[in-house]
Amino acid sequence: MMIEQVDTPHVDHAVLQGLQEVMGDEYPLLLDTFLSDSQARVAQLHEAQNAEHLSMAAHSFKGSSSNMGAVQLARLCSQLEERAKRWPIFELQELIRLIDVEFANVQALYGAERSRFAA
């Protein structure tokens, strides 16, 4: 089973720039919210009981990821959302693992971004 690996960047810095402009002083808070919110969502993916829950969880995670400029993460969630509608769960475990890996990258990058600002 082939899972596409494409050379997509992890973060779209233009988006981050735009977010910083919009949020102003609240930018750090937004980053914090995203990081903690996303952790919960990753857990949701693992705990999903059926295809519908899994698809909806992936959909929601896709939304916030794309809003925050985490493009690779958003793409993977999109794939998961689609496939969850047609494939049996046990065949999706590989994709979920890839999301785990990508999220680790995101944590590192966004964490670094967060630490540019005072606590």
Partner: protein, 572 residues
């Protein structure tokens, strides 16, 4: 009515419902930065609850939410909003067409894709707000219109109540009249009036004012006042017409006028006098032969021509008992059916041809109209007047308001009316007014007026104008007679009618002696008295009528002088 109410632009309260905290926070910031205030919800159910409690003007709704999804929440919010427009913009990363269609079907007004583009969001909010304000303006104006419509209906109610007081003295309920008129005909400009003259004649007016609503109704009141006032005082049709025309010309705006047909039915003389301006043809229906004579409109409507140019020429027709006159407004001819065809004159004539007994012609026209239209409507006026025996109708007693202490009981007066005056002046109302000051005479007002009118008309027409009473033997001669009357009167340059009135006490009551003289050639009174009374009204000088209604009627000076007396036993 100020219709420029517009709901003002300003910052909005926006509800943002999204189950994703990150997205919620981001969107809230974006919207706040655009100058609005924000309230939030984390699922569909909470969104509905927050909406109901705080009533935001705009809603941003995530399509996929737990507990109650965006579509269901949207439906519920729209229901709560009612008539007002609360724009709902769906937030979605759905890309399939189906999902987008679902958004709109659920009542969404627009959608915004993730990732959020601030510029697009701002533009959508602005556009939706414009729609929202437009809807609110429309609703406010609608309510204003409804309110004003209510005021208008009330004004009409009041106007109608006032008008009914003005028109109350009419005799439309007389047994020889059959009519159809909607209760609010006044506001279609239709007017139907009927009143008795002191002599027991009946004046009838069917009018059709231009316009609708209050403007049409407002001209009817002064017109009705003139009609009733002058008819009660004994003025003839022509004087009443001149006065009504002058009044309307003076008070109505330039583009408003009143089409009208005016009739004077004289039961004693068996004639009908007709004036018609701007109205559709009326019809004279002969009882015996079934012949139908059209009464054509020969004049302009009332209120168009100045008094100097107004034409008051009337047509006179003999009318036997059983003959009828039918009048109608153009609402009959112009009635349309579902295919927008006009009822038209042909259908009317066909309906008229079908029946001939009293009342049946009326019904025939009504049922033809209802059949044509497929429904019954009363947006036209129609009247049928029958000629009856002279004593058949009982005109109501005249009502006076003074106490009688100042009756003139011992006096004499003489008048001489010469050519110029005879042409244009009717002295009868003036003389009657004076004689009605004598309370004892009032119970005989009807007879008094009839006799005075007959004597004066004899003196003028047969005496001064030299018209041959024998001409009025048949319908054709009748027309000739009145044509000659008009011509000779217009050309008159010499001659006179003299009236002498003498009042004196007699026991507890009194006596009035009237003598009328004319400058004509006279006639053989004795011969006329010996001939039995012919068919009522046509031909003759009404000599038998005069003898019947007064005392001691006598003729002298070769018929150029007539004298009658009226006596009363009590002073009233």
């Amino acid at each position: 009515m100020n219709m420029s109410t517009e709901v003002a632009q300003g910052p909005l309260t926006v509800l943002i419902a999204d189950d994703n905290m990150t997205d919620r926070m981001l969107l809230s910031s974006i919207v706040r930065r655009q100058g609005h205030s924000v309230i939030t919800a984390g699922d569909g159910l909470e969104a509905v609850r927050v909406f109901a409690e705080q009533r935001p003007q705009l809603v941003l709704l995530d399509a996929m939410m737990p507990v109650m999804d965006g579509f269901a929440a949207a439906r519920e919010i729209k229901r709560l909003a009612g008539e007002a427009l609360v724009p709902i913009i769906f937030l979605t990363s759905l890309s399939e067409e189906q999902a987008l269609v679902r958004c709109l079907e659920a009542g969404g007004d627009d959608f915004l894709a993730k990732p959020y583009n601030q510029v697009i969001l701002a533009a959508k909010i602005k556009a939706m707000d414009r729609l929202r304000r437009l809807q609110a303006t429309v609703l406010e104006q609608r309510d204003q219109i409804a309110r004003h419509h209510g005021y208008l209906l009330n004004e009409q109610r009041v106007a109608k109540a006032v008008f009914d007081q003005v028109a109350h003295s009419g005799c439309l309920d007389s047994p020889n009249i059959r009519y159809l008129q909607s209760p609010y005909a006044l506001f279609n400009g239709d007017l139907l009036l009927a009143a008795f003259t002191p002599a027991g004649d009946m004046h009838v007016l069917l009018g059709d004012f231009t316009g609708h609503g209050l403007p049409a109704a407002v001209g009817a009141m002064p017109l009705a006042e003139v009609f009733y006032g002058m008819t009660a005082k004994g003025y003839g049709l022509q004087e009443t017409l001149r006065e009504m025309n002058a009044k309307l010309k003076r008070i109505l705006p330039v583009d408003m006028f009143c089409c009208a047909t005016l009739l004077s039915l004289s039961f004693q003389r068996g004639i009908v006098e007709v004036w018609s301006g701007g109205m559709p043809e009326g019809y004279l229906l002969r009882g015996d032969s079934g012949e139908r004579v059209p009464l054509v409109s020969r004049h302009l409507p009332l209120g168009v021509l100045s008094p100097a140019r107004f034409e008051d020429r009337t047509d006179v027709w003999p009318l036997a008992v059983g003959d009828r006159v039918l009048l109608l407004t153009d609402g009959v001819i112009e009635a349309t059916n579902a295919d927008e065809e006009l009822f038209g004159v042909e259908r009317l004539l066909a309906a008229l041809g079908e029946r001939n007994a009293q009342g049946e012609v009326f019904d025939s026209v009504l049922s033809a109209l209802s059949a044509f239209r497929g429904e019954y409507r009363d947006d036209f006026s129609m009247a049928e007047l029958a000629m009856v025996q002279p004593d058949y109708l009982k005109p109501p007693a005249l009502i006076y308001s003074d106490s009688g202490q100042s009756s003139p009981l011992d006096w004499s007066s003489s008048f001489e009316f010469r050519a110029e005056t005879l042409k244009r002046f009717n002295p009868l109302p003036f003389l009657m007014h004076m004689l009605q000051e004598i309370h004892g005479l009032r119970p005989q007002s009807g007879a008094l007026y009839s006799v005075l009118a007959e004597l004066y008309s004899n003196a003028l027409e047969h005496g001064v104008l030299g018209l041959d009473s024998e001409l009025k033997r048949d319908a054709r001669g009748f027309a000739q007679y009145y044509e000659q009357r008009n011509t000779r009167l217009t050309q008159l340059d010499e001659g006179y009618v003299r009236l002498h009135l003498h009042v004196r006490r007699e026991g507890e009551g009194g006596r009035l002696v009237i003598r009328v003289e004319d400058s004509g050639r006279g006639f053989d009174a004795r011969k006329a008295l010996a001939t039995p009374a012919r068919e009522r009204g046509l031909s003759g000088r009404g000599i038998h009528l005069i003898r019947q209604l007064s005392q001691n009627a006598s003729w002298a000076d070769d018929g150029r002088s007539a004298q009658v007396e009226f006596a009363w036993e009590q002073q009233g």
